[in-house]
Amino acid sequence: MHLPVLPVLLPFFAAVFILFPWFNMRLNAQRVVAQGFLLLLLGLTVYLFVEVLNHGPQAYAMGDWQAPFGIFLVADLMSASMLVLTSVLALATHLYGCAGEDTKGRFFHPLYMFQLMGLNGAFLTADAFNLFVFFEILLIASYSLLIHGGGRERTRAAQHYVLFNLIGSAFFLIALAVLYRAFGTLNIPDMAARAAQLPAESLPLAEAGGLLLMVVFGIKSALLPLHFWLPKTYSNTSIPVAALFAVMTKVGIYSLWRIHSVVFGPDAGAVAGIGMNALAWLSGGTLAAGIIGVLASQSLRWLIANLIIISVGTLLVSVSLGTESGIAAGLYYTLHSTLMCGAFFLLAGLITLQRGQAEDRFVRSRPLLYPVISGLLYALVAMALIGLPPFSGFIGKVFILQAAYDSGDALWVWPLVLVSGLAALIALSRAGTTIFWRTQGTVLTEARERISPLHLLSAGLLTAMTVVLVVAAGPLTEWSMQAASELRAGLTVQQINDQIPGGVR
């Protein structure tokens, strides 16, 4: 079965296909083909998810090399749900991009596809070095997408982001070298198996490597002292790219689950749970920084970027609990916060188009052209992100609070998470009041031409996901608990080899 590798190959072929010269001057053809591939990708990832749900984790060996020597892709419930999440987000944000954003620079569509290839690969791989490679693929695509459209502020933000992440990549390689020396392997299931029996002289190396990796994933996921790049980068880039980047920070969280909750998990003997104490403190700090940032924001996009920091802080708190229910709660919250932050960015774009000179700043400005539909979407997204019942944020937060209560961390987790909700409530109602009610002058009529149905459709589609997440909350929470226990149990090298058709048993 070649199913697990297809989510990586499909965007790759799509990107190469769109790069053919015939497409060069035909933007509409690019859009249609890219959308077609994205729909195909969505169908494929859903199919993969169902397969994994019915038949258990699927391993794929590159070139049929037997474990632990070859490179492996493993699709388990956790990675399959991240894949579905990514393809839903990509489909909607790409639709927004097709409504005019892709005319502002070249190669928007191929870069989008390469970005997806890197993301999907990072979610699927079961090899630490391969994880690095896919990180680099998604990073180099994100660098180029980030400056799509150009402009002073964008270039300045991109420069910080690129240089900072290049240093992060160097750290990643150092960590991998150290871990290879300690473990003798970079295959993640193999590392997990060997962690408990590490010889005493390898322990300091394993510890150093694990902590270095935590720093690297902290950079990707915007952990407290490493998060300063995020608001500027996200609020200055183009709207569909910012919305797609809502999933980028989750790649860091996902890698923390893969490495620090499994390889350095509770069964790891002397290296069990390294850095988790530090992570708990820093994740609390991330939440606090996000709260301050949300309250101090002066424009809508800046506000959303800080809401992303809050959601990342909440997720890091759930990682630092170190329990299975923490991981399960984190997975559901990931689905919710990624889709909602993405939807909010699209909505911010929609509002910006209607406000003319004021853009998305919180100042008195023209009334909106479509106040009812924009206001409705705004209220939905805001209530979901604050965590008001009955929307998805409420369920996600209750899930996390429950996990914190069960692991005995309620005393510090509950106040932080609840205050972050309060801060979001204050900031979002203040922002909404200014945008929708503090108006003067006339409606911007040019907005009628600038806003295409695609804008409304994509923002509406992503916002509607909060309803889907609530309606399907039963099975979703069940699946995320199953995914967490599957992640913890892990595939053994033997199980991987059993799935390779020509492999040596």
């Binding site: 070095f129 180099i140 300045r156 690129v162 240089l163 290879y180």
Partner: protein, 134 residues
Amino acid sequence: MELVYSVTVGIMVTCSVFLMLRGHTFAIVMGLTLMSYAVNLFLFASGGLVLNQPAILAEGAEYSDPLPQALVLTAIVIGFAMTAFALILAIRARADLGNDQVDGKATSSDILADKDHEGQLRQHPDKATGGKHK
């Protein structure tokens, strides 16, 4: 051999950290290049340093671990691409922002340097490109 090797890596990392802490993009790109060299050497050493041994396991013989060599090869290619991108971005930022400071704010020494070259540089590039990108 180990001592010389590690001292070499250490000196390169020291230089790269010094360069990366500078405010000018060119110095930082140089620092990143040096850093990637040092990291590649470090990665190479992770399999253990052995001399004159086959790269593949042979009967009873010691061997040099082939995996780090493969990893270094990949890391070199990726590092090369990334450095190229960072350089292009630095040039773009020089044009867009009008100076080569990382945060895009010209220091007094930059402005003085521009004044010195007023003959060649009629207009401050900041003003020349300022209105174009909005």
